[in-house]
Amino acid sequence: MGRFGTPTAVQGDAAPLAIEGRLTAERAAELRAALMARVRKGSGDLPLDLAAVTHLGTAALAVLVEVDRELRPQGRRLRITGARGPVAAMVSAVDWEDLACRRLPGRPPQPGLVLQVGTNALYLLTEMRRLFSFAGGLFLCSFACLLRSRLRLAEMLRFVDRAGVDAVPIVALSATLLGLILGFLGSLQLKPYGAQLLVADMVALAIVRELGPVITSILVAGRSGSGYAAELGAMVVDEEVDALTTMGFDPVEFLAVPRVAAVAVSMPVLILISDLAGVLGGLAVGVLAMDLTAAQYLEETRAVLTLRHLIVGVGKGCVFGTVTAAVGCFKGLGVRGGANAVGRAATSAVVTGIFLVILLDSLFAVVLAYLPF
């Protein structure tokens, strides 16, 4: 192994730095430190004798270029002498003039704030237009499938299994916990007034009308919406969707309709399960923490719940679930690019899906308030 000569008082800074041996990547940092010290201390050109260097690696060469770049603004230069054989070839292969003055490669500059806002607004508009046209296409296509009984039932049942049956445990657990929380908070508020029994009313109404459908739809957006986006996105990237199109299939009919239909069919059942689980959660609090009997609690629940509440809840949930599944398919089929575009599509499917659920729920709240039921 070689070493880097240390300048002595006699040699002064003008003497060439003596370097020997193989300048590999491992030694590049050491070389850089030695040279940079000379750049800071010395004045005038920096001589460098490479006569004893047998190998010059690219990392060491990059250090030399960097030193030269440091020197030039001060009107100084790196003067390389004595390079022989492959070392000379490495040195002469570099365009020193170009590398000394050019900007180093960086990230392409970020567009300004106004440009970004404008671009994003335009993107949002086109995306919304595409979403509406996709929704319209999906709607028409589903009807056409139903009328001509072209719905691929076996395929759809497979998706019902994945989107519906597999979702039952997580939906039931989440709804139970939600019922427990509501019951517990309600009991704290109502107990001082001796109105414990009203906890049953509160839990039943909140779960059946609002929280059951919303939490189920959010879970479906997270499970199926993102799953569909990733699945279909990967199919786009692998050109499977193009293959289907060239074979004469409509990708929306072939891929999106069975998936969305499966969610639409599963939603009522999932919501009823979440309603039941939520009420049971409330019941647990009522019985364990508020000295109510199960019969009292259930009788109160039965009295407050009407068929209307149940229909509103299940109906809303079906709309929410169908929308989140459709958004998942839309985002998946809209993938352009490679693997990271698939990831973005999955994220976007969940975010858009959940946002639309909340938006639609507020619309429902207003509209239902003015309707006679």
């Binding site: 990547a25 690219t58 270029v65 490669p105």
Partner: protein, 263 residues
């Protein structure tokens, strides 16, 4: 005296979960040699490649890289030896979120203490070496497949490893671009004196660059032939081997049936 081999496999068995795909594989790669591992689709090329670059542990046998035994070696030893290996993956395997220059800087960041400006200059040097000086700030999805392979070579060569491993470098490239990549590999060997291990099923590329090769085959679960590609094509006693090198499918009379997958 024969120079010590850069890479030496002795009775190597490779496979997954204890199930060997290939066994009894023995070969030597000499310094400054371009050595090809050939085989049809599904012959175990990728499996042996994964073993040679330390992703998949060998099931049995000996593997020596740069004179260091790798058979039962620790992760630290592999990390040390991995500095001696530069690997170009089949699709280039460039990180999509990083520019080409930043991709080339990755091994510099991982294995040296050099600060960022030096690493950036190094990336410039390497990218201009593979003819991509203009594309430094582009992202991988903005460039062609051939350019991606070149950028992959630049990244693999960032720290001047003595061994360059290429996994199916010509896959997905047009013949002209593939030939340009062959030229690049020959140029790197000439200028930097590196050893190249080429894993491929591309015969044109093998004839153009490889000094020696082995042909691996699922049927014998090991090496079917070893030697200089042109001589294997013309002189090898096994008709199936000659047929492979001539891109002929196995003959229906059964004479060369079950050959190593005609291309």
């Amino acid at each position: 005296m024969k120079p010590a081999p850069v890479l030496k496999a002795t009775n190597l068995s490779v496979g997954y979960d204890g199930e060997p795909v290939l066994h009894g594989v023995s070969f030597e790669v000499r310094p400054r040699e371009i050595f090809a591992i050939l085989g049809g689709s599904g012959s175990g090329k990728t499996t042996i490649l994964k073993t040679l670059i330390g992703i998949l542990p060998p099931l049995a046998g000996e593997l020596e890289i740069a004179g260091v035994s790798m058979t039962r070696s620790s992760a630290e030893r592999w990390a040390q030896v991995s500095r001696k290996l530069g690997v170009l993956f089949q699709t280039g395997a460039l990180l999509a979120d990083l520019t080409l220059a930043e991709n080339v800087m990755l091994p510099v960041r991982a294995q040296t203490d050099l600060p960022e400006p030096t690493a950036r200059i190094l990336a410039c040097l390497k990218l201009s070496q593979v003819g991509l000086a203009e594309a430094e700030s582009r992202f991988p999805n903005e460039i062609s497949g051939g350019m991606r392979k070149r950028a992959g070579v630049a990244r693999a060569m960032a720290l001047d490893p003595p061994i360059l491993v290429l996994d199916e470098p010509s896959s997905g490239l047009d013949p002209v671009t593939a030939a340009e990549l062959d030229e690049l590999v020959l140029g790197l060997r000439r200028d930097l004196g590196i050893t190249v291990l080429l894993v491929t099923h591309d015969l044109a590329s093998t004839f153009a660059v490889a000094d020696r090769c082995i042909l691996i085959d699922r049927e014998v679960a090991g090496i079917r032939a070893e030697g200089v590609p042109a001589r294997l094509r013309d002189e090898h006693p096994d008709p199936a081997v000659r047929a492979f090198f001539r891109r002929q499918p196995p003959r229906p009379d059964g004479l060369e049936k079950g050959g190593p997958g005609g291309q």
